[in-house]
Symmetry: C3
């Protein structure tokens, strides 16, 4: 399969649509990245809401314009609320993103990810180790950090996309977005982003915001990746370490 | 009702009292704003403690000098612990603040907020959509962000204050504080603060700190709002986007 | 007992070992400091993973290279998962650190800390009020902030180390590390670090990372304290308030 790139016009259109719509994104994410996830969405022009109660998740997924499900720190109660939210999103035609944080090596989360994969996520976004793991080809990552290059997970991503009828986004030095037919490659960014917790997790939420505002999921996903890489490049120029990188990354998102 | 303003002498006295007392504030808040809430209190000169266990919340509310209850991310267990803390605060004469995050639209939290309102919070602090919602006049906000101006919620705030015998603080471009008799208006600040998650939630905790150190709740509340607006003005001058705004906001609180 | 200091060669060796190994640290910590804990580990050259599910904690403690247990915001479920993780760490010979946040005054956490102390933590890291409390000599701190100097807790620390066969690290203006035989004193840093939430909690995790990469726990612990103090000195020079202090502290860790 030949690799496509996102035209800068299409990127700009996708960003403008997010800013015009200001989509409300329902975030069900892990304990560690709650704040950066909200701040990334706000900086990009979307509106975050972290609604996780079993009593609220299903209703709220129907009110929001997109849903994020991130399995980083699960409990049985949270998994049950996530199921309600996913079912509601599907019933109301809302796009949703699955982030399989740390997949490969821990049976509980692997079981949850396997179940959620069958519930037709619009996009699955993960690092190479995670995408390899959920496609059954993983050698196991190192906790939540990837030990594989995104290239090495590309054929697994294509296979996964075809098998589950979803768009798969595998991020790394180059990000790849595929629906099993097309592959869009997004280059740029900097490895320094991996030294700030939540840059990957919050990208998954950014994908959800772009899905809410744009019709084609491959384009939406590639545009979100492009925005993250541009913000990382801005941060690379305006920081001396990971503390100031994080600050400049959020600034960069708002300045694009 | 004519609108009053807080004299700068009264503001400075209120701030000095917080810094002299360094009140211990018991924070029961949502998953997203834990860190910024603690850092806002520390920067302002208070001492935060996030104690949420059912086994600890009641006891700790009697040891602390003020309590914050924020309903952003509830669970049944947390609600039960909050009830214990509120009852203990009331029994020991400690002031407490209710932040009805996202009220209006989700039955579970609306029910919890309605119950807590009857437990005599010293102050209720919310955005316009939230205050309209809990007074029964809401059209529904957008998730946790306000879609109404604070002016539009002013008569609802006065009504709420009279009905429940509480002080109501509705924040926005202008912040209003009312006990149903007096209205104090606090101007200044910048809309840019709404692009940083937790500036509203952490203001509610700041109100709790000011209540612990100052006798009149209207003055305490207006002083906390003034401090937040001054810090936001400092941040407005010392930032290029929401990442650096947040950093400068915390700096600004400590420099006042 | 005479007080030793850590030689700068030993410090540099200890830091290099962390960066060479890039240890995976299993963090079970409180709700407030999740993000700063992860970012401190990443900046220092380690790899954090926050795995807290009852179904995962035991397995993951055997995969990770060190474990942190912080009792700041407990629930019964979390305590049960912590027990599994501690047992697994002990069975697989992995070092683990106990951070008794807020010990002294709340029966529930004091009971949990007393139990965990008998499970042979490699290191116990706390402020003076906490170390005094768990050795039975406390007058009670102020929430989670210390009201005692580290000197005042030194003999309690030595006693605790002998009683439980552990290394005790009491931090403050001077940090002390003792195994009951030796005392290493670490000076420097700045009191301004206490105005940023999580500088203490994340130091405990840094200790875990150093334990994973270095054989002698006293040296590992003193090296982690030294790294934190150096980063705080860097931050002291590159900040105007606690907001920018936190950013510079993370930067400083990465620049050492």
């Amino acid at each position: 399969m030949s690799q496509l790139v996102l035209h800068s016009d299409d990127f700009e259109t996708a960003v403008r649509r997010v800013r015009d719509l200001r989509p409300l994104v329902h975030c069900m994410t892990n304990d560690v990245v709650q704040e950066i996830t909200a701040n990334v969405l706000l900086a990009a022009g979307a509106s975050p809401a972290m609604v996780v109660a079993k009593q609220e998740a299903g209703v709220f997924a129907s009110l929001a314009q997109a849903l994020l499900v991130n399995v980083g720190t699960l409990t049985d109660t949270l998994v049950s609320a996530m199921r309600d939210a996913i079912e509601s999103a599907n019933r109301h035609g809302k796009p949703w993103v699955l982030d399989p944080v740390g997949a490969g090596g821990l049976a509980y989360r692997d079981g949850v990810v396997a179940e959620f994969l069958t519930l037709k996520p619009t996009v699955v976004r993960g690092n190479a180790s995670e995408i390899l793991a959920i496609s059954g080809h993983g050698s196991g990552g190192k906790g939540v950090d990837s030990t594989d290059s995104s290239e090495s997970a590309l054929s697994a991503a294509v296979h996964l996309a075809k098998t589950f009828g979803t768009v798969v986004c595998v991020t790394g030095q180059t990000d790849y977005v595929t629906d099993g037919e097309r592959i869009v490659a997004v280059t740029g960014g900097t490895e320094r982003a991996t030294l700030v917790v939540g840059t990957g997790c919050s990208l998954s939420t950014l994908v959800a915001a772009f899905l809410a505002a744009n019709d084609d999921p491959v384009t939406a996903c590639a545009a979100a990746c492009t925005m993250a890489k541009r913000a990382a490049e801005y941060a690379d120029k305006h920081s001396v370490g990971p503390g100031s990188f994080k600050v400049a990354y959020i600034d960069g998102l708002s300045l694009i």
